[in-house]
Amino acid sequence: MPDIHDEDSYERHPKPGVDRLDFAGEQGMAVEQETLVEPDVVKREQARSLWGDAWRDLRRRPIFLISVLLIVLLVLMAIFPWAFTDANPRKADLVHDYLKRPDWTDFFGAGWFGYDAQGRSIYARVVYGARASITVGIVVTVGVTLLGGLTGMVAGYFGGAVDAVISRIIDIFFGIPLLLGALVLLNGFASRTVWAVVFALVVLGWTQIARVMRGAVLTVKQSDYVVAGRALGAGTGRLMFRHILPNAVAPVIVVATIALGGYIATEATLSFLGIGLQEPTISWGIDISSAQKVIRTAPYVMFFPAAALSITVLAFIMMGDAVRDALDPKLR
């Protein structure tokens, strides 16, 4: 086998010697495949797992690196917003700051992106708004992955009646339109906090993951190594979590990372429509919504939160795409 550094050159210029060896193998001739004494390999190539391979692949992708950089920045912004701005996002000075235009000389200052119709610093609100979006995105993704992953796994593994019941439940939830469902669910909450929105999105979103997981488990369950594991005495739990899960989780991770951006966009949509987050929570969706009233006179009031939202969603979707390419090259 050519060592790892040779792989590329081998692709371009097939080595006749190596090819001949393969040919001999097809003919069923004695091939030095089964040498009992390992030839003195100078440095053995590192053992590589699926995840190790994926990581090597990802590290070399500029899109992945850029999106991860952006995400790290956004997450830091969500956790430590005060590190990015001194301004108070809730301070409203209508006398001095009403719809003040962006001041580029006030670099990273309160007036950098201008002020909104209530005299609040847009820059501060963009920074503080990251928390709601990132929290919703990440917590919803974790929630749907756990809930959907577990139900999909149970349905796929046990099959039969269990599968039939779970699949019908999935179908029912799948049939609920997202916005309508969220409207109904969120109306039931006295105050619509981040957690209420998370709850609504998890309840309406887990079916996607459940379907992917169920399909993956059904495929993996048929494989010989699961039968072999059973034949060597592995119990249900061990089979499910040690043998099936690691082989079935890749498509779930792919779907979940791509969906993360979607959840952030959905939160903003709900907030924009007035059925998501409420003041005093600071959210890009709410700010975009209130900026509508002044869009003709002061378009920058809408531009900055909208740009922040777009960049965030884009970063997560780009990362999801890169992860998908690395974990499942067939989908590329």
Partner: protein, 350 residues
Amino acid sequence: MGTAAQTTERERGAPYEGPLLDVRDLHVEFVTRDGVAKAVNGVNYSVSAGETLAVLGESGSGKSVTAQAIMGILDMPPARIPRGEIRFRGQDMLKMGKEERRRIRGGRIAMIFQDALSSLNPVLSVGFQLSEMFRAHRGASRKEAKAKAVELMDRVRIPAAKDRVNDYPHQFSGGMRQRIMIAMALALEPDLIIADEPTTALDVTVQAQVMDLLAELQAEFHMGLILITHDLGVVADVADKIAVMYAGRIVETAPVHDLYARPAHPYTRGLLDSIPRLDQKGQELYAIKGLPPNLLRIPPGCAFNPRCPRAQDVCRAEVPELFPVTEEDGTPQEGRGSACFFWKETLHDR
């Protein structure tokens, strides 16, 4: 091997007199959309400690299904076992609870599969999978189990076992992978190993090495071995006795050399005649005419009758039982039986 020997004593308990595994009148059916496929129709065989039984048959003869029934890894439904007993050291496994059976699987009876690449989990290192045997069955710690895994890999002669323990299945050659499967089966020093076509996926040169290894380890641990194969060449050297299966029944049983020298069933005869031989170079190779029967519609009488050169009316009407095979003068031949009305003619014909 002090510790290994101790665990063996403890696990195996008192030595058991009589056959280790005794399959009696086993029937297995599969419920399909087109009807009930009778895959196994009354199989009887037994294996004692230290003995090797080869189960020979074409695809669809029920040899693998029997093995899966013994292991308890048939998917039920669609499979069902309407009748029969599978006695392991005297206890009928079909009547055991789920948990009791699970402990026997892997611990007391282990199985080696045909295709080691697909039978090993691709995302786990071989060392992890080997050590799982100790962790699942013996509750060993991670470190202990890993050390034992290396020891096992050494024992099945994988070179540089210590360096390769963290490698993944795809990094091994076919023969090495099969060695790892053997190591997994051997891990807990079971009483019985079922090897389902262990060498079919391997190169001819490697086949012999793997078979030798298996035979050697079997002798070392005094295990029973059931070797399922369609390859007459593989079994000749290692098996003690052979059971030939056709359409879910055993049609002939015999000690290995008797069977090769003087088959007593036309089907066995046909199988032996279909082996290419050097002294027949240039002649047309013999093939049993026709195809194995559809298990949904097994022909009445002897299942082999439509393909049999000796078939008479009686073969189409009655199902032959396994007749004891005797010499011409009537002295019984040890361990021989043939499910053919004309076994005498077949036996003495040549």
